[in-house]
Subunit: 201 residues, 2 copies
Amino acid sequence: MPYLKRQASCPEPIDCKILTAALNLFVKSGYHNVSIHKIQEEADVSIGSIYRHFNGKEGVAQALYKHILNELDELIDDVIANTQAPAKQIEEIIKQLFEHTETHPEIISYIFHTKHVEFLPNEPLMFDAEPFTRIKNIIKLSIDSNKASEMELQINNSLIMGSVTKLIQLRLDGLAKKPLVESLDILLEKLWQGLGVDLET
Amino acid sequence: MPYLKRQASCPEPIDCKILTAALNLFVKSGYHNVSIHKIQEEADVSIGSIYRHFNGKEGVAQALYKHILNELDELIDDVIANTQAPAKQIEEIIKQLFEHTETHPEIISYIFHTKHVEFLPNEPLMFDAEPFTRIKNIIKLSIDSNKASEMELQINNSLIMGSVTKLIQLRLDGLAKKPLVESLDILLEKLWQGLGVDLET
DNA sequence: TTGACAAGAATGAATATTCATTCTATTTTC
DNA sequence: GAAAATAGAATGAATATTCATTCTTGTCAA
């Protein structure tokens, strides 16, 4: 099973094999271009097992989705636990995302480069999911927003998460030559400047 | 003898009917969830015609893609013809995109809310397509970039196009309550501020 | 003006294929 | 040895594509 943090243990359990295989295939070809049979082949398990564990293809995609959102949520927990100022928390979250783009591109791709609605119609839109609403809140806190309207909050959020998402996608598509962490400082400088945030480092 | 006016002649040409139907269906359900038969039904033409005109489902999607990229290209032509300063050109392009999001949401959605690689594997990545490389160039011109590195240009581009894309997607998903044009001024202010661009209006 | 004829556009039933799912047999685990 | 897990061949529903036929339109001879 793909973990953001932990290493998978030695005798890989069958459901982890399935999820790992599915993740790789989904990311490479897109959900609809991947058949159960391909997953079965790649994971080196039987079709029966896939049905027993996940009750079919959509079940696999859904389990993956929830698993990864969970890990993202834990990542945010960690950042919050170890960082004080909201603005610093945002910086750290972005940094972590950029790093994971290098070390776990499939996971990041499944989050940031996939249109889940097209195969998980019953899941809430991703940016309504827990980790992203939390990020939105931290952004709100990090910017002096006494008199900020709903609309302005949305713009701030779009500036930060929009540019981060765009960079991640460029990198995943091979259009960004260097690891994103190298862009981090410049990006943050421009972001905070645009948003009028003063950081007393 | 008085006679009823003939049915309005000039019936919509068949390939337009097909493209319009396909666009609506693709945007609503996603390419892979739309069958040729649904297109046939929605367009009120025969399956044979779809094959005659576009040689199948993928052909329809491809024709749509090229058609829409073309229109976007023309939009940029217009803006360039009527606006001097690059920064103003960018502003106008963003404004047009925001307006089109209200008046032609399907078209904008097909551009900004679709993963084309998953069904048009032979088309270049969208942000490598003509209109977007042109936008990238205008952005480059609009920002004093004598000493700007490749990386910095990419960050600038991500800030602008990333936030614009994000806002458009929010609006298309119904998560932005008001038309985006109302956000335009604030967005531009923050963008230029972040990018260090002075506008002598 | 009329009717015969040709060219090509449109039709949609029939076909071929793909692929998710089911089901029974087999193996493993405790 | 019972229960749980795994296997993968068989099934059939969904769906892309083909193609023989019908319809439309334009041309030209009588």
